[in-house]
């Protein structure tokens, strides 16, 4: 059955990842973009857990745990930056933040 196929979980992980990426490309609000990053991280986590189940190895779980930790830290910092951004201007459009360029 599908539920027994690790490839199904991988496909699902891929689709979630792409949705997160699309949101990152298409939305202009920094808050929503940060949430899309979270979606992508979660998709990766799903892949790890699926492989851990497939291989019978707990290391996948460990890695997922670490990813969650790092995601938490990153959200904290990201939100701090967004707060700063909102302090400067009322409507935060991420396209206005474009002075760091090559």
């Amino acid at each position: 059955m599908i539920g027994d196929m690790v490839q199904a979980y991988l496909a699902l992980s891929g689709i979630l990842f792409v949705i997160g990426a699309a949101g990152l490309m298409l939305r202009r609000s920094p808050l929503v973009m940060l949430m899309c990053v979270e979606i992508m991280l979660n998709a990766a986590n799903l892949a790890f857990v699926a492989f851990a189940r497939h291989l019978g190895n707990m290391e996948g779980h460990i890695f997922t745990f670490l990813v969650i930790t790092v995601a938490a830290a990153e959200v904290a910092i990201g939100l701090a930056i967004i707060v700063l951004l909102f302090r400067e201007r009322d409507a935060a459009d991420v396209d206005d933040v474009n002075t760091l360029r090559g």
């Binding site: 199904a8 851990a52 189940r53 995601a71």
Partner: protein, 169 residues
């Protein structure tokens, strides 16, 4: 298993899509929480009980609440940004194309992998996915990474304080 997979899977996708298409940030947060909970269900289906727990408590319980606080603080009674014209030309079209293409590719990649079935639950090591096994794994084999995450969190705290903390501190 299959039923769980399909239901949770569709919910997860719906939640993710909801984040993108929501009109206000708060709606996006709610969608994301749906996504997270669906994933937790999938973790349970994959015999990762401890992790499902962590997912719900940390992700849905802490991170998303943090999001809600900040949204409430910043965007109360403001119009969402996407009402106005965007600055980048062609971004929307290219983005959609890339996204759809990417999705197709992902499915193709997953389908073409010759990985076979997952082993049956009985074939898994005893205590697979349990807190005890998790703790043992984390604090013996991966103790170094565990310590490093402490640093990561420290960096986050300091960063937040430096960025938005009060001047007098």
């Amino acid at each position: 298993m299959t039923a769980v997979f399909w239901i949770a899977g569709i919910l997860a996708v719906a939640g993710a899509l909801g984040v993108i298409v929501a009109k206000t940030p708060v709606h996006s947060v709610i969608s994301l929480v749906v996504n997270i909970l669906a994933l937790a269900a999938l973790y349970l289906a994959l015999h990762a009980e401890f992790l499902a727990l962590i997912q719900v408590i940390v992700y849905a319980g802490a991170i998303m609440i943090l999001f809600l606080f900040v949204i409430a603080l910043l965007t109360a009674r403001k119009d969402p940004i996407e009402r106005t014209e965007g600055k980048l030309e062609g971004q929307r079209e290219l983005g959609l194309v890339t996204a759809v293409g990417g999705a197709v590719l992902m499915i193709a990649v997953a389908a073409s992998a010759g990985l076979g079935r997952m082993p049956a639950n009985e074939a898994l090591p005893s205590g697979f996915g349990s807190a005890a096994a998790f703790g043992r794994e984390l604090l013996t084999t991966h103790i170094f990474s565990f310590e490093l995450t402490a640093f990561v969190l420290l960096a986050a705290v300091i960063g937040v304080v430096v960025l938005v903390g009060r001047r007098q501190l």
